[in-house]
């Protein structure tokens, strides 16, 4: 045990943050899965134990990931990326349909469904870090710098979008931020934003059109193929967000109304652990809407604290970036931490109705699943960079010959 602790390196603050968020997740998940357990005829504790198991596995993943010399991830990034693309294509056509969009594939032996976009996201950001670090010298050049970087982003987004538009948009936006940080020409980025806006504008127009015609046209899209089935959902969600849900029975506006009820009930100090009332009515209180439950139980104070924890995490990652002398490690730390925090903010923004309803989880806090483990892997990689930075600082004498 002592040995294990001794071998646990990297940023202590980040380790503490992981422990803190895991604790929060246990509390929130245990409180909010009662209804689900009842529906599925399982014991109330079953989801708690499942989450404990996820946390244990997750910590193990972090541990092993951070023991790996981060430079290896450069090669891993390429391989992962090359695996992710065909998996995405496979998911798109043969994936498991949960909540309409096909986002999942089922792993054969362990019978775990996992969201390929989680894998793709991680692979993409690792790969981007590799590309950005390699292309720093020619980054301002359109053909040599920009195109090689934007292409993988485009591919991943296009493949994810049909099943999971929000994730695709989120990945796209985060990528833009990373490219901006990675000194890609603002002119080029602007071009991407303009091109990306076109489908978005179409969506908004469709929402406006649907709102003004306002009859049964809501369902027409559902009749089409699997891919087009999603379009109707997007339009509806956009319409709900823009005009506010008028239909009480509309699932999305129902969700957001319940989230608002939860936030209202929480007040400044909250109802106390396990006292949430809205959890029985919110459709996914343990994943997409866990932040609302946290505010309900722990108040605005608790909500702000969780948010603060993520910011600290981001700040520590920036510190790692600053200390890291090598471009790949620096970008890895930045890319992965920014994605994670942006995802957290996106989840919170949905919960407080700043964004339309999307299926984004709160990293490390929302109940289990593949995204939990991929988040842990990302943190492990960041810690791996931190461990190397610490080692460099600890002994300036050590020269990492293989770096050259």
């Amino acid at each position: 045990m002592d040995q294990l602790l001794n071998r646990t390196k990297g940023d202590k603050v980040i380790w503490a943050i992981v422990a803190l968020l895991a604790m929060a997740s246990l509390l929130a998940v245990y409180s909010s899965t009662g209804s689900l357990a009842y529906r599925m005829n399982k014991s109330t504790e079953s989801y708690l134990f499942k989450q404990v198991a996820f946390i244990l596995i997750g910590v193990a993943v972090i541990y092993f990931a951070h023991r790996v010399n981060y430079t290896i991830y450069s090669r891993v990034a390429l391989i992962l990326f090359l695996i992710a693309i065909p998996l995405l294509i496979y998911t798109l056509f043969f994936g498991v349909r949960l909540n309409e969009g096909s986002r999942w594939i089922r792993l054969p032996i362990i019978r775990l469904t996992f969201q390929t976009s989680d894998l793709a996201k991680l692979a993409l950001f690792m790969y981007l870090s590799r590309l950005l670090s390699k292309k720093q010298n020619v980054i301002k050049d359109f053909r040599k710098g920009f195109l090689p970087v934007i292409l993988p982003i485009g591919i991943v987004c296009v493949l994810i979008a049909p099943a999971n538009l929000s994730t695709a948009l989120l990945i796209g936006a985060t990528s833009m931020l990373l490219l901006f940080i990675g000194r890609v020409s603002v002119k080029h980025l602007f071009l991407v934003v303009v091109i990306g806006m076109i489908p978005l504008m179409l969506l908004i127009l469709a929402a406006v059109y649907q709102h003004s015609s306002e009859d049964g046209s809501r369902t027409h899209a559902a009749a089409g193929s699997k891919l087009f089935a999603r379009v109707g959902t997007w339009v509806n969600r956009m319409e709900n967000f823009m005009y506010g849900g008028k239909n009480a029975d509309d699932e999305d506006s129902y969700q957001i109304n319940q989230a608002k009820i939860a936030i209202s009930k929480g007040g400044v100090l909250g109802l106390g652990p396990g006292n949430s009332q809205t959890r029985d009515f919110l459709p996914h209180p343990y994943s997409d809407f866990i932040y609302a439950i946290i505010i309900e139980e722990y108040g605005l104070v608790g909500g702000a604290f969780i948010l603060f924890v993520y910011l600290v995490f981001l700040f520590r990652s920036i510190r790692i970036f600053r200390k890291c002398p090598y471009a790949f490690g620096a970008f890895l730390s930045l890319g992965l931490s920014f994605t994670l925090v942006i995802q957290a903010l996106a989840n919170m923004a949905v919960n407080v109705n700043l964004f339309p309803v999307t299926g984004v989880t709160l990293p490390l806090v929302s109940m289990g699943g593949s995204s939990f483990l991929f988040t842990c892997l990302a943190i492990g990689i960041i810690l791996s960079v931190a461990r190397n930075v610490d080692q460099l600082e600890g002994s300036k004498l050590v020269t990492l010959k293989n770096e050259e």
């Binding site: 009842y38 529906r39 720093q136 009332q277 970036f321 490690g329 942006i342």
Partner: protein, 709 residues
């Protein structure tokens, strides 16, 4: 391969971008917290109240309607639950894994449904279920109005037994009013209907029976389950139970006797009341009306509707002239051969007798209208109020107030009445030009039987709440003494005379005496007047004449131009049968007398006992339809009610000797020896009599002799 960020410029360029991004992130964070605070501060009240309206509901707690019992504890009208069963085809448990649970179970469920209800075959059920599943019907009605037994069975069917969450199975409990005895005293017990006016006791005592609904505030939690919020609950107060004075056995006898005679003579309507002399308790009240298809049903409470009473009213005339000491029953009166002209109208006696000079007692026994008209007009023409005063004292001008809604007001004319004429008084003497109800006539006969004390008739003996009596109705005396003892003696002698030498002769029997009066009255048929020759036959009296226990009145309105219409011929036999059977019931020990009296065996009077499932099995095997008022198991008796076999629960108390009548030897032995009695058996067949009385106490090892026949 890794590239060092050694160029300070590059690193600085990156750094400001990072800090800018971090700043943006912080700003977004502030916006998020700000938005949350905004929701709390400015929209909070709205959302919190919305939460209450969405998740809380005031639920009505329906009070259980009270039960109406007979005096001996049989349920006459009670609420029983029934179940409507639905399936929520949208239930998560049912649809998960692509509807695996549904497809796994649909075959066996259809099979069980088809086998149990037998109304559709398996394929039809399966088709229905699949259709419901396909359309995602969240409230698919599977079966309605299931009894509790059926529901218990259905609940154990495949799929359904997996519970609401997995099967989507929803059961809703409702309650309906059941009269286990069907026709028996139906109109008097009444109907409790949701969409129409109640009648009978159900209506009179509606406030008590209904109870008070409660309310509770509930909050819905997971899976459509609600939990009550403490402090917001008002318990429902269940309805009170009404214990009537009715006796199921007497009611059954009365109803069946009346029905039998009415069916034979195709009478239009009839009523029959049995009253306990000492108390005024109504032990039975039957009201039958002929329906278009020739069957009879309790359609109106004829017992409390006023009409021209006819000859039974003559008792009042007798009382009047005797009480005022104008005559004694031994005085003589000239019947003029049955035809007497008074003013411009003529009084006829309804039966031709050709008699002239007779005693008043004989005149009453012959039911002579002439005699009564003569007596009353002789002594009261100058002073009609003297006669009317007596009628008032006999409460003929007031309703009986027996406690059932629908009683019509009686009419006793006075000299001040517009329609009062010279012939009113003589006609009143034999029961015309007055409107009184059978119940009121019975009150008079009951008073005569009760040594001159007139009792208020009543139907409700006590009111109970959860088995505890909260109100006990005592007998009420309405007239301490309707006449002097001397008059009373003469009246009773006259009534007995009717039976021994008058119109009631045919109704005599050698074992006990009946005192009573026949009545045959021509009744008007709306605008057609008396042209249709519709007669109202009646018989009022009491028995046994020496120690009266019950008084009884039978009033039957015949069909137009009926062959038989005399009181003694139509109403009399009903009265006789009731009297015979009641007398037999009350002298159980005297088997000789009982057999002599009895009660000729016919197919309508039978009585068998046995274990309930055995009895039902026999009935089902023989393909005889029957009315089922029995509990699930235990002992039961099978008897006839309203010409229909009824299987009813028979209470067997552990500590007293049970009633074994009609039981097979095997059952009787089993029952008795389990109770610790030693049994001696005589004869063959079913139990006819037993050496220890029903209801008497015994100690272990006592010998009980049962006689089979």
């Amino acid at each position: 391969m890794a590239i060092k960020l050694d160029s300070l410029e590059v690193k600085r360029d990156i750094l400001w971008r990072v800090y800018l991004s971090f700043l943006i992130i912080i700003m977004i964070s502030i916006i998020i917290i700000g938005k949350a605070a905004y929701i709390q501060q400015f929209e909070g009240a709205y959302w919190r109240s919305k939460s209450d309206s969405l998740h809380q509901k005031v639920v009505q707690l329906v009070a259980e309607r009270g039960t109406i019992y007979s005096e001996d504890g049989s349920m006459l009208s009670t609420s029983i639950p029934y179940f409507d069963v639905y399936i929520d085809f949208g239930a998560d448990g049912l649809r998960e894994k692509n509807g695996k649970r549904f497809s796994d179970n649909v075959d066996s469920l259809s099979h069980h449904l088809a086998a149990f209800f037998k109304d559709q075959d398996k394929a039809a059920y399966k088709k229905q279920l699949q259709k419901g599943y396909k359309s995602r019907n969240r409230y698919y009605s599977l079966k309605k109005k299931l009894s509790f037994d059926q529901y218990k069975t259905v609940r154990n069917f495949p799929l359904i037994r997996q519970g609401r969450n997995k099967s989507g199975f929803i059961a809703e409990v409702k309650s309906t009013r059941l009269n286990p005895f069907g026709l028996l005293a139906n109109r008097t017990i009444g109907l409790a209907r949701t969409n129409a006016q109640n009648v009978g006791l159900e209506r009179t005592y509606d406030d008590l029976l209904r109870g008070e609904d409660g309310r509770k505030l509930v909050r819905f939690i997971a899976g459509g389950v609600s939990v009550p919020i403490e402090g917001y609950e008002i318990e429902p107060e269940n309805g009170r139970d009404i214990i009537t004075t009715l006796d199921v056995n007497i009611q059954d006898i009365a109803e069946n006797s009346l029905l039998k005679v009415m069916t034979e003579n195709e009478c239009e309507q009839g009523t029959c009341i049995v009253m306990e002399v000492a108390t005024g308790k109504v032990k039975a009240i039957a009201n039958l009306g002929r329906r278009a298809d020739g069957t009879y049903w309790e359609d109106l409470n004829y017992a409390i509707r006023a009409s021209e009473p006819g000859s039974t009213f003559k008792l009042a005339s007798m009382l009047s002239v005797l009480e005022d000491k104008h005559v004694t029953i031994q005085d003589r009166v000239n019947l003029e051969g049955g035809k007497w002209k008074i003013g411009r109208r003529t009084v006829y006696d309804s039966e031709h007798h050709g008699k002239y000079d007779v005693t008043i007692k004989e005149a009453f026994a012959e039911s002579s209208n002439v005699g009564m008209a003569k007596l009353v007009s002789t002594y009261y023409t100058k002073n009609p109020d003297g006669f009317i005063r007596h009628l008032r004292k006999l409460h003929f001008d007031k309703i009986s107030d027996v406690g059932v809604v629908g009683e019509t007001s009686p009419i006793i004319k006075t000299t001040a009445s517009k329609t009062w004429s010279a012939t009113t008084l003589p006609w009143m003497a034999f029961g015309y030009e007055v409107l009184v109800s059978p119940m009121q006539i019975l009150m008079l006969y009951n008073a005569v039987a009760n040594n001159g004390t007139m009792m208020k008739p009543y139907l409700v003996s006590s009111i109970q709440k959860n088995g505890i009596t909260i109100k006990e109705n005592e007998p009420i005396v309405v007239e301490e003494q309707i006449c002097t003892k001397e008059t009373l003696k003469q009246l009773r002698e006259s009534l007995e005379g009717v039976m021994t030498e008058g119109t009631g002769k045919t109704l005599q029997n050698p074992f006990y005496t009946i005192a009573g009066k026949t009545g045959t009255a021509l009744v008007a048929n709306g605008k057609r007047g008396y042209a249709d020759h519709i007669y109202q036959s009646s018989f009022a009296g009491y028995f046994p004449a020496d120690h009266p226990k019950y008084s009884c009145i039978v009033v039957i309105k015949n069909k137009p131009n009926a062959k038989k219409f005399y009181g003694a011929a139509v109403a009399g036999p009903v009265f006789k049968e009731i009297a015979d059977k009641l007398y037999a019931l009350n002298i159980q020990n005297n088997t000789v007398l009982k057999r002599a009296l009895n009660l000729k065996k016919d197919s309508t009077g039978f009585f068998y006992s046995g274990e309930v499932n055995d009895v039902k099995y026999v009935m089902n095997t023989l393909n005889v339809s029957y009315k089922d008022s029995s509990a699930n198991d235990g002992w039961s008796s099978l008897y006839s009610s309203n010409f229909q076999p009824v299987v009813n629960t028979r209470m067997m108390e552990k500590k007293v000797v049970p009633n074994l009548t009609g039981m097979g030897l095997k059952d009787a032995l089993y029952l008795l020896e389990n109770m610790g009695l030693r049994v001696a058996v005589k004869g063959k067949g079913k139990v006819a009599s037993q050496s220890l009385d029903t209801g008497s106490r015994f100690s272990k090892g006592d010998i009980l002799i049962i006689q089979l026949n």
